[in-house]
Every structure is written in structure tokens, then in C-alpha cells.
């Protein structure tokens, strides 16, 4: 597979390490009332879609960027690649 890195252009997937569902960025608020329940869901529950899937890839043999890659799990077609840092900020993780 080839991942079109937002900074470096197309790179072979072999340069990356795969982590999984991009929901791993949405770490719950530890101060929340039901924090334990939220962390349980965060840690253990994942969707497993047949189709578009947002997932985290780490450019370990490259610039060490974490990327959010939207990949079709049926065809491997990649329809979007973003810097995870930008995406995390967009999701409200500013600290």
C-alpha cells in the first residue's frame, strides 16, 4: 500500500507502523463522573467496519508523524490522510 503523507508525499506502507482505530485519539476526560466506564469503552470497544475506516499509522521509518488514514477495509483504497496532530486539535484536544 501507499500512504500519501501530507508532508512527505506518497510513501510505502512498509515505512509505517499500524496502531488501529483513530478513536484511540479520543482519550476520555479522567475528571468525568463516569470516567471509569468511558475509559473501559475507550480501551476495549472498537467498531470494525467493512468499508471506510479511520485509523492511526505511525511513520516510524520516516518523520515520526502519526497520521489519521481513512482506508476502505474492503478495497484498501485510501481516501484521506491527515496529520494526527492537526486532527486531534480539531477534535478539541488543545492541551
Amino acid at each position: 500500500m501507499i500512504i500519501n503523507h501530507p508532508l512527505l508525499g506518497p510513501r510505502d506502507a512498509a515505512e509505517f507502523v499500524y496502531l488501529g482505530d483513530a478513536s484511540l485519539m479520543d482519550r476520555p476526560d479522567p475528571e468525568a463522573e463516569n470516567a471509569a466506564e468511558q475509559f473501559y469503552e475507550y480501551g476495549y470497544l472498537r467498531d470494525n467496519p467493512a468499508g471506510a475506516h479511520q485509523e492511526l499509522w505511525y511513520h516510524e521509518q520516516g518523520d515520526r508523524s502519526w497520521l489519521v488514514v481513512t482506508r476502505d477495509t474492503l478495497t484498501h483504497e485510501i481516501t484521506g490522510v491527515k496529520l494526527a496532530r492537526d486532527e486531534a486539535k480539531k477534535r478539541g484536544r488543545n492541551k
Binding site: 501507499i2 485519539m25 475509559f39 515520526r64 484498501h76 485510501i78 486531534a88 488543545n94
Partner: protein, 983 residues
């Protein structure tokens, strides 16, 4: 003089030069341009091997990579290579080939008796015949089957050749250099695109070299040569012959195998083969078509060949496979073989066409049988005669069979594309979703005539170039005639009585397909697995479709209703050596060497692999009888005076930024905000699920500058997790990370004389006194007259100790400097064993304890989880189940009988209880013989361990049937108050 009894005129061979080769020791001759198969046929050698299951005599069946029969063993000694197709083996001077799969000589194979047992060896015989009695399987049946079946044999020596890997990029990859591929490559290349043209053959041109058609008024092979010359002269084109594109992968990535020196007598130090990974923006599959046979009685004898192959041997190689050739066809193309052979003066005895139509051509001298068929053949080691359905017997030493052509759709299936049936050509063409960026042209796409293939190739290239934004020069397709290729759906001769072969490599017959149907294995996938059809090294290139047609006939369905199999990579077999490339032996997983490796090598070190690292395990001295002598001495001398250990392998991460301290607060369980500059702190990390992950020390070198250490094993993983935390969880923090594990060489200097030793190497005016540089202090400084260094006062051994770091390039020299400075104190180098003994004596947790199942509480580090702040893993570490009153705790163990050793992995049982799982109290994680205390000591996890100090417990090892009694003690055997390390 020449034994080339079957050589005729013409062909693309160089007759000015003669090549000598041997087959089964017999000397033969051929010419440059020959394959081994064409040379064998030229020498009249029809019998070349034995069948897989029944050991029937077999000959050359095709002229290409689809060959099921003519598998031979090439070369000798360590270079021996089994199962090589003679039809694609380029002849060279001195080539040695032997036939395989027979006992005794090829002519008199003792195993041929299995042919008489064929009634017992039909479809599914593995599952039926050898099931009972069960005990017979391993001892009797399996060895018999293993020795009688199978193909060639390995040399059992290491492969002496070199293999390489490479990467290529292009706008357009053209797969196959036949008429469509050449036309497409030419059109694309002229518009300026980067083009790779790959072909498995050594002579590009595909069927143009095997046919007598003309293009633009010149012979097809001349046109191919001209076109190739033009392409080869262009800078934007790479023509790769002897290169098989074997797999289509995601996003336009292809695997290709280039055979660089297989056509030479010796590789001469060069890579024998190169495995290429080709990145293409677009690809064009122009892989042509493969002829299929018709199944009839005894259709597997040497001398029975595909009609297109016979034509290829005559036209391209100047070899006539027979002196008296008969042709059996169900289509117009078979007649082309008849007319081509007749034009070369080969004697055609008969043309038999299954169709009852007007003969499509006239063949001088040949008897023509329309609406007829071949039902049986004669000739034990080679064809002598054929019998027609009418009962008429005709003499022939070669029978050319044509059952029509199958487009080579293989690569279109590699991303689960599903071929579609096309009635007008009675064949499957590419269908479904093709690999991204792929187009198919020419015969591979069902354009079976030459003119159509050329037009298709040109048109595809033009549209691809437009798609890629290249300005296409108006290129006209080369012109050629559209030859007749009408075919019929005629798959086997129903009137045949004897066995009729479909898959000749796995010995599957028409009867096997019918039996599979009768026994209920009707889906294509079941059929394959039950009969082993198409599962040999040729992957059923000639047999799958006829077998499918026969299954359709049995079920009364159409072929598309019956289904088709799809293909997986590789298109043809890939040697393991090519897949391995240079990553062989130790190069598969190279060692990482510590900076002081050379010094250690020169000082009698025994090394140990720890992960990728090669580390000093101990440093034996003359007279020491075993490893324990050395390790005990290293511990004793370190504790008595001073020892030095290379600890570079610990992960080092440089952390900078104004939010660096806050960042550490998030990833460590304990607080780092208030760590003063110039101080080091122990830190513990959890996984988000609350389990302990890694530990180490982190030094604050400046307000916004920290240096973290990790365990050796987790160095890469911790860094990855920190980057995740930095970019994905807390992207607003101003903090940056870089791994400096390889940047700094680091040495532990431990023992009461460590300060005295170090004071000799550090530059003035640095004050090393306990007041100025106490326990857990750190600083940047210079040593040895200006060399930059970092000094940390930390201790893993429990002694007064330091770790000193210098830029890695000074590491080896530094070891020498430290040892020289330590001479007056009898300084000793110590390895990983002594390091481990001292850490167990001190009660530090390591990998055995941080095993992915234990919590901070279990480790006795509960106090390190700050109550005042959040950190990764904190919330889930508070789960009730992880905080039970009877949770296991890390404690120490010493044997009651001090002469007894403790064993790691032993389980703890309360005295008086039965030793079973229900009564299990915990387990021993680390043990060592402690030279300091003179007996074995252990660390382990036991329920409520912190409340059980002084209790005598059973230490049970059922696996070794050993049990000892031990006392539960503090894990900190050595200097529990820590006075020494603070001293």
C-alpha cells in the same frame, strides 16, 4: 556429426555457434536462442520426466511458463535446482540437466508400477485409502506416499548464489511484450512517459516470435525487434526481459522477479536474481493467452503437445517436434499450426477437427477429418500412433492439440477481480474490479487476433497517457491482418475409453472430475481441493478451464454458472532465495553492537543476545572454571571496590520544550513538574489499561530539557508511545522528542571507589563531592580535557554509583579510559549476569517482573501512582479487581536450607496445602546465586506478600519435580535502607 535429428531451417537461433549440454549424462548440442526444451526436441529427446502420481512417461507439452510436464533438475552440487521448467530454461554452454521423479533410470522407472494401482489412487485417495488403521499412517502410509510422490529434490546445501532486491518507479508498467504490449509501450514512450516493459521471456516479442504474421508489411518478429530497438534507445523506457511480473498488489505496486544470470554458466559473483518492487501510476496487462488442451484417452504421452507450442518450436527455434505430425483441434487457430508446418516442409499426416464444418484451410498432403476426434493413442515412451473415433488408426510421432485459448487473466484476480465468461471466444476474460490503475489489452483481454491486439494496445496506451496528462502524439496502431480464430466449446472426447488427463502435473483425469461430482464435491473450490486439480507448481494454467467445463457438463449448468477459480500471486514460482534477498543468516536480523564492543572483544568477553543487541555477559579470567566463577567475582569486586558496565542499550529519549515537565506528568505515574534542574527521578509508566509498562530514570538537565531512559527491550515502543501521546493526546503542549539511544555511550561506574575513579577523568573544577553532587544528581560536564559528557548519580546495583555518558563515537575509548583510571582500585568490567545478580540483591523489578500482567500495586510501587494528577493508565488502574486485598505482591525469598537453589517459574504453596492450582499463591520471577550472601535468593509475586514476611512457604516446581522451603523476606536483600548509594 550433428545429433540434432529434428533441427529444421529458420528460427531465431544463432547457428554459427554451438552449445554443448547434457541431459541425464548424455551429451547433446543446441544453439544460442534455444531453450532446454527446444534443444532436447532438436536432439530427438521426447521422454523428459515421469508423472507425479502414476510415474507415467511424460514429454514436453508446451513452449512456455505454463508447462506442466517437462520439469527437470538443473546444475549440480550446491547449485542444483529442482522443478525447473525446461520450456523457459535458456540454453547455455555446459548446462547439465537431469530428469526427476523416478527410481532407476528415466526409461525404466520402478515406480511405474503405481500406474497399475491407479484404481486405488483416484480423487480423494488420501482421505479414503489411508485412513485405517490409524497407527499405520505415520509409520507406513505417509513415508510411502512421500517417497513415491513429489518432484525433484533439494541439494540440502546452502544456496551459494546471491539474491538482491530493488525498487523501481514508473508512469506505466507494461506486463508482457507481445504485440499489444509493444504497441502500447511504443505509444506511451513516444509521449514522454516513464515506461517499464517487462517480459518473462529472454526474447521480447511474445507470440510475434512464434508466428509467421506480418505487421506493417514486415515479418512480426522483425517488427518486434525494430520496436524493441526504438524503445531500448529511449531514456524514459526500461525494457526488462527475463522478468516475470508475478503479483499485483495494492495501489499500483507490483512484484517482479528478474533472472539475471540463470542463462549463464556461472553468476560470477553477481546477483543471480533480483526481486523488484515496482511502483506504477498505471499498468497495462498484455500477458497474452494460454492454449488449452482437449482431453482424450492416453493424451499424456511424450509427443502429444499443444498446437501453438508445436508451431513455436518450428517457427522460433527451427525444430520440428515430430517427423510425422497429426493435428487435433476444435478451432481455427489449430489449422495455423498445420499450414505453418506444411510451409516448413514438415510432414503432416492428418488434421482432425472436432467441428463438422468446411475445412478453414487447405493443408497440402494432409488427410482431413472434420467432425472427428482422437479417442486413444499408442507408444509407451513416445507417441507412435493415434486412433480416431471411427476406429481408424493413424501413425504419428507428434500430435498437436488445440482446445482454444484462455486469456491470461491471472494478475487481474490478485485484488479479487473475478473473470467473466465470454461466449464468442469460449473463455474467461478479466472482470470485476481490477487492481487499481490496471488496464488489460490484447489477447489477455480477449482480443485474440493480431490486428485487434495491436489496436487494443495502442488505444489503451493513448487513453492512459491522456489520463496521466501526457500529450500523446497522434499514434496510429501498427497494422496487421485479423486472422481467423473461431472456436468451439469442445472440451473432451466423450467416446474415449482410457483415462483422459486434464492436470498432467498433479495427475488429475476426466474420471476424477466425474467422481468428484458424484461424491458431492461440486463447487469449484471443493473440486480443486478434493482432486488437487490446479494445485501443482503450474497452478493449472492449462487444466483449470477444461476441468471446469467438465464439471459444468456433469451438473448440467453453464460454465459461468459453475464458477471459476481466481488466482493468487505468484504467477510462476518464486525461489525462496529471491524472497530472502540479502537477509540471510545473521543478516536476517543483524546485531546491534554496544559502543565498547571492540574493547570487550579484546578482553575475553562472552557475549549474549539481548533483543537485537549483543552485550557482554561476563568477562572470564584465566583459571576460572565456569561462568559462575566470573560472575561471582565481578559482583564481589564491584561491591568491594568498583565495577564498570556498558549500559548504552537502555533507551534514551531527549525531551525538550517549555511544556516538557507537564508532558512527563502525563506519561509517568509520579510527578515531574517540581523535579529540580540537576536532579534525576525514577519514573513508572502504565498502559492505559492500568498495567505497568516500563520504568526508568529521567534527568532534568535544564528548565525545559529532560533526558529519559527506558528499559532496553522497550526503547522503541516507549518512544512510539510518547510520540502518540505528544501528537494525538496532548497536541497543544510545546514539547519535542528525539531518540538518542545510539547517540550516547553510557557506562555504569559502581562501587565504593566509583567517585575516586571518576574524579580522575572529569575536568576541573567540577565538584564530585557528596554535598555538591549527591545521590540522584545529574549534570553536563567535560572529561578528559574537554570531551562533552553527562553524569548521573544513579544506582541499579545498590552501591554508590554513577552513569557517565559520552558521545557514542568516544564510547570504546571511554571504556579504556575508565579501566585505566580504575587500575589502582582494581576496577573490574562486569557483564549482564553480574548486573542481574546485583539488581536482584537490591530488589529492583526488571522484565521478569514488568511482564505485562502486573500493576504498580503488585510491584510494590503503588505509592508511585500520584493521587494528585492524571496520567496514562491511572483511571483503569483503580479497577477493583486490580486492587483486591489478596493481590499478589513482589517480595524476596531465601531458601531455608541455604545450600538449596531456588528456581524461577516455581509456584508458591502454603505449608500444609496440596500443591495444585486452586492453592496457588504466586510464582518466582527472578533468582540468582548471591555471592554477597552466599546462598540463592529470589524475587517473586505472592498473594498478600507484604503481610507475610517471615512465613516459610513451599516453593514447588512440578515440571522438574523439585520442591524447597523458603522464607518470605523483603525484596531489598542488599542495603535495604539505601545508605550505600547515598554515601
Amino acid at each position: 556429426m550433428s545429433q540434432q535429428t529434428h533441427r529444421i531451417s529458420g528460427g531465431l537461433i544463432d547457428r554459427s555457434s554451438t552449445l554443448e549440454f547434457t541431459f541425464n549424462g548424455k551429451k547433446m548440442q543446441g544453439h544460442p536462442g534455444d531453450t532446454l526444451a527446444s534443444a532436447l526436441l532438436a536432439n530427438g529427446q521426447r521422454l523428459v520426466g515421469r508423472g507425479f502420481k502414476y510415474h507415467r512417461p511424460r514429454g514436453i507439452f508446451t513452449a512456455g511458463s505454463e508447462e506442466p510436464n517437462a520439469l527437470v533438475q538443473l546444475r549440480s552440487g550446491a547449485h542444483q535446482e529442482p522443478n525447473t521448467r525446461a520450456t523457459v530454461t535458456e540454453l547455455f554452454d555446459g548446462l547439465t540437466a537431469t530428469s526427476q521423479n523416478h527410481r532407476g533410470s528415466l526409461e525404466f522407472d520402478f515406480m511405474a508400477v503405481t500406474d497399475l494401482l491407479s484404481p486405488f489412487l483416484s480423487a480423494g485417495f488420501y482421505y479414503k485409502t489411508f485412513m485405517w488403521p490409524k497407527a499405520f499412517w505415520e509409520k507406513i502410509y505417509e513415508p510411502i506416499i512421500r517417497s513415491s510422490a513429489g518432484l525433484g529434490s533439494l541439494s540440502m546445501q546452502e544456496d551459494p548464489d546471491i539474491y538482491d532486491k530493488g525498487f523501481l518507479h514508473c508512469d506505466l508498467l507494461v506486463i508482457g511484450s507481445g504485440p499489444a504490449g509493444l504497441a502500447a509501450a511504443l505509444s506511451a514512450a513516444r509521449s514522454g512517459a516513464q515506461v517499464i516493459l517487462a517480459d518473462e521471456d529472454y526474447h521480447a516479442g511474445g507470440r510475434l516470435n512464434a508466428e509467421t504474421y506480418e505487421i506493417d508489411g514486415i515479418s512480426g518478429s522483425d517488427w518486434a525487434a525494430q520496436t524493441l530497438a526504438e524503445l531500448s534507445a529511449m531514456d524514459n523506457v526500461r525494457v526488462m526481459v527475463r522478468t516475470t511480473v508475478y503479483g499485483a498488489y495494492d495501489h499500483g505496486v507490483f512484484g517482479a522477479l528478474e533472472r539475471c544470470t540463470d542463462h549463464l554458466a556461472s553468476s560470477d559473483g553477481k546477483p543471480r536474481q533480483v526481486l523488484w518492487r515496482i511502483y506504477s501510476k498505471r499498468s497495462l496487462l498484455s500477458a497474452g493467452a494460454t492454449e488449452r488442451p482437449i482431453a482424450f484417452g492416453n493424451n499424456d504421452r511424450p509427443g502429444i503437445m499443444l498446437a501453438g507450442a508445436v508451431r513455436t518450436y518450428v517457427n522460433r527455434y527451427g525444430v520440428s517436434p515430430g517427423k510425422q505430425v497429426a493435428i487435433f483441434t476444435n478451432n481455427d487457430d489449430g489449422w495455423r499450426t498445420a499450414t505453418d508446418l506444411a510451409a516448413k516442409g514438415v510432414d503432416i499426416s492428418a488434421v482432425i477437427d472436432a467441428r463438422d464444418i468446411e475445412p478453414p484451410a487447405s493443408v497440402p498432403g494432409a488427410a482431413v477429418y472434420m467432425g472427428s476426434s482422437v479417442v486413444d493413442t499408442e507408444g509407451r515412451k513416445g507417441l507412435r500412433a493415434i486412433t480416431l473415433a471411427s476406429g481408424e488408426r493413424l501413425e504419428a510421432d507428434c500430435l498437436a492439440v488445440s482446445g482454444g485459448w484462455n486469456p491470461n487473466v491471472h494478475l487481474t484476480c490478485h485484488q479479487r477481480g473475478k473473470p467473466q465468461w465470454r461466449n464468442e471466444i469460449n473463455a474467461f476474460v478479466p472482470g470485476g474490479t481490477l487492481p487499481a490503475g490496471m488496464r488489460v489489452a490484447g489477447a489477455a483481454n480477449g482480443a485474440l487476433s493480431l490486428g485487434a491486439a495491436l489496436r487494443d494496445g495502442t488505444d489503451c496506451a493513448t487513453s492512459i497517457m491522456a489520463d496521466l496528462g501526457f500529450k500523446s502524439k497522434a499514434s496510429k496502431a501498427p497494422t496487421a491482418s485479423d486472422e481467423a480464430h473461431a472456436s468451439s466449446a469442445y472440451w473432451h472426447v466423450p467416446e474415449s475409453r482410457p483415462r483422459a488427463w486434464l492436470d498432467m502435473q498433479n495427475d488429475v483425469t476426466v474420471k476424477d472430475i466425474k467422481q468428484s461430482y458424484k461424491e458431492g464435491f461440486r463447487s469449484v473450490e471443493h473440486l480443486k481441493r478434493y482432486t488437487t486439480l490446479g494445485m501443482a507448481t503450474d497452478q493449472g494454467k492449462t487444466s483449470n478451464i477444461p476441468a471446469l467445463a467438465i464439471m459444468a457438463e456433469c451438473t448440467g449448468k453453464t460454465i459461468p454458472e459453475t464458477g471459476t477459480t481466481i488466482f493468487r500471486p505468484p504467477y510462476t514460482p518464486i525461489p525462496m532465495g529471491a524472497l530472502a534477498g540479502r537477509a540471510r543468516g545473521k543478516d536476517f536480523r543483524p546485531y546491534r553492537l554496544t559502543p565498547s564492543h571492540k574493547w570487550a572483544e579484546n578482553n575475553g568477553t562472552t557475549f549474549v543476545e539481548t533483543g537485537n543487541w549483543l552485550r557482554a555477559q561476563w568477562f572470564a579470567r584465566p583459571g576460572e572454571k565456569g561462568w559462575r566463577d566470573s560472575v561471582d567475582r565481578e559482583v564481589e569486586m564491584t561491591r568491594a571496590s568498583v565495577g564498570i558496565c556498558d549500559v548504552t542499550t537502555l533507551g534514551k529519549i531527549d525531551i525538550q520544550g517549555k511544556d516538557a515537565a507537564e508532558f512527563l506528568n502525563h506519561v509517568y505515574t509520579n510527578a515531574f513538574l517540581k523535579l529540580p534542574v540537576g536532579k534525576v527521578r525514577y519514573g513508572l509508566m502504565l498502559r492505559e489499561d492500568g498495567i505497568a509498562y516500563d520504568d526508568g530514570t529521567t534527568a532534568r538537565l535544564g528548565e525545559n530539557h529532560f533526558v529519559m531512559t527506558t528499559t532496553t527491550a522497550n526503547a522503541v515502543l516507549v518512544f512510539r508511545r510518547l510520540e502518540f501521546a505528544r501528537q494525538c493526546l496532548w497536541p497543544g503542549l510545546d514539547v519535542h522528542l528525539i531518540s538518542t539511544t545510539d547517540g550516547w555511550a553510557q557506562f555504569a561506574v559502581a562501587g565504593p571507589n566509583s567517585r575516586n575513579l571518576l574524579s580522575k577523568v572529569i575536568d576541573a573544577p567540577f565538584d564530585l563531592s557528596n554535598d555538591a553532587f549527591p545521590f540522584m544528581a545529574c549534570s553536563e560536564l567535560t572529561i578528559c580535557g574537554g570531551t562533552p559528557a553527562r553524569l548521573f548519580r544513579i544506582s541499579f546495583s545498590g552501591e554508590m554509583a554513577y552513569e557517565i555518558a559520552v558521545p557514542a563515537r568516544f564510547g570504546n575509548a571511554m571504556m579504556g579510559v575508565l579501566m585505566e583510571a580504575g587500575k589502582e582500585y582494581d576496577a573490574v568490567p562486569y557483564g549482564t549476569e553480574a548486573l542481574g545478580v546485583m539488581r536482584i540483591e537490591k530488589g529492583h523489578a526488571a522484565g521478569n517482573e514488568l511482564n505485562g500482567q502486573t500493576t504498580a500495586l503488585n510491584l510494590g510501587l503503588g505509592g508511585f501512582v500520584s493521587k494528585k494528577k492524571d496520567c496514562i493508565g491511572k483511571t483503569l488502574s483503580q479497577r477493583p479487581e486490580l486492587n483486591r486485598d489478596d493481590a499478589i505482591r513482589l517480595v524476596g525469598f531465601k531458601p531455608v536450607d541455604q545450600s538449596q537453589p531456588l528456581l524461577a517459574g516455581s509456584h508458591f504453596i502454603t505449608k500444609g496445602d496440596t500443591a495444585n492450582m486452586a492453592n496457588d499463591q504466586g510464582w518466582m520471577t527472578s533468582v540468582a546465586y548471591s555471592p554477597t550472601f552466599g546462598h540463592s535468593i529470589g524475587l517473586g509475586f505472592i498473594k498478600r506478600g507484604h503481610e507475610r514476611k517471615g512465613e516459610i512457604i513451599r516453593v514447588v516446581n512440578p515440571a522438574r519435580n523439585i520442591e524447597v522451603e523458603a522464607e518470605i523476606v523483603s525484596p531489598h536483600f542488599y542495603d535495604p535502607e539505601g545508605g550505600l548509594q547515598r554515601g
